[in-house]
Symmetry: C2
DNA sequence: CGGAGCCTTGAGATTTATCAAGGGTAGTGG
DNA sequence: CCACTACCCTTGATAAATCTCAAGGCTCCG
């Protein structure tokens, strides 16, 4: 993305910023979000909850992610979005985004890329929950987070921030916190990872990918989006 | 959708039709699909497979569904698409679809709706696999199929086609075929469903929805898409 | 100092998987 | 028309994975 495009985005995002406290909802199930959100800082998640309290985290939102993109602006959403850590988000009017997409191919491409990766990631989570074991699911989550953060320049070597609790990991992987704990300890014992407090270090990336059968294709880490990607 | 729009679609779909034998791949992981597909007749699925043979069905494709929409045409896909029953599909050049989207708002809206529902459904499958029990997952799958088919006018009363085998249901719900069998029998014994051969009858729709905690919002059955839905 | 949230551990229960075998049915070739 | 095969469904017995319940310890914060 050219500097000029970067600048026009940065200006845009400066406009209306909001801070969300940790563990607070940004958008709640059944509501109509009235603007597009960009996550500037902090971690969040999409989640869905059943009447009896069971909760499933559907996706992690990391710094740089966009949500409620144009497509979302109109129908009531069928899940909630909440902050995991304190978040700062930028709110942008949908028309502004539409205009940008129309006039700026680089930005259109970036938004398209974001959408595409979101869907692919959602599919990968489905696959993970359906066919991987507890141990594999946790390893997979750690791999995904690591690669996504690295793409955003948020890793130092093999170390990155990891503010999820073991309860969060359980809700993302469909496991009880107790079992998450035991599996994490196993990964630690095998010197695959170190994880204490809010920092995660992957000691053996290949080994962890192997455990998870992690195939990063779905993240499109090369960010390749052909110029003619956007229809219309 | 107005009759004129219907007609222009029908003409389009007549162009290049293809028949796929049951259990054959249409698009394989890692390949670049070169055209947009419309499923005219028969059932298919998206699936992902691990090296050791574990397989997960990611989504069901029912008559009327579109896949590899514009957005997909460019990056190698990270999963495969296969026919469950014999399928007839229409292949349309991506440029043709782009043109249609640009010139025909009704069609653009329909395609947008399809995309939106696909993503929402993928999220719902993630939630199902993560937090529902075996029994609930199967009930949920049956509910989803029933409502989707009914929307396409493919139900007679509470009866619809259901060509999946119990192995297929297992691959969609992350369960072994043996366990699927036991749970299905339970649903039968409770007079919630009848399912024999390729036909499914839902004897107690409310009861089945209750078991599944099925909330059909994600399917957007009303097909509401405000006229200004499409950005750009 | 007290409380809250998080991590850890143990024991036992439950759900689901695995293994193994038998029966029904539909299509196929002789 | 009859065997034969392949595929699917069904059942039983046992094993493994994961959950539930319960309790204790640590750390951070007020």
């Amino acid at each position: 993305m050219a500097d000029a495009d970067r600048t026009s985005i940065d200006l845009l995002l400066d406009q209306r910023q909001r801070t969300i406290a940790a563990r607070r909802d940004v958008v709640s199930e059944g509501h109509l979000p009235h603007c597009v959100h960009f996550l500037l800082e902090g971690w969040g998640c999409r989640y869905r909850q059943l009447r009896d309290g069971r909760r499933q985290i559907l996706a992690l939102l990391l710094p740089g992610d966009m949500f409620d993109a144009n497509v979302q602006v109109l129908a009531a959403i069928d899940h909630s979005i909440s902050a995991i850590t304190p978040m700062t988000i930028a709110e942008v009017a949908p028309e502004t985004v539409s205009d940008l997409i129309r006039t700026n191919p680089a930005i259109a491409r970036a938004i398209w890329w974001n959408d595409h990766v979101c869907v692919a990631t959602q599919r990968e989570w489905t696959a993970t929950l359906g066919m991987r074991t507890a141990r594999e699911r946790i390893a997979h989550l750690l791999c995904e987070v690591y690669f996504r953060l690295r793409l955003m320049g948020r890793c130092v070597g093999r170390t990155c921030e990891f503010p999820l609790t073991q309860v969060d990991v359980g809700e993302a992987t469909g496991l009880t916190p107790v079992h998450v704990n035991r599996m994490v300890q196993e990964l630690r014992r095998e010197r695959l990872i170190e994880w204490a407090g809010r920092t995660l270090t992957i000691l053996d990336l290949d080994g962890l990918c192997e455990v998870a059968q992690f195939a990063p294709a779905y993240l499109h880490l090369d960010r390749t989006v052909p110029a003619d990607a956007i229809a219309g």
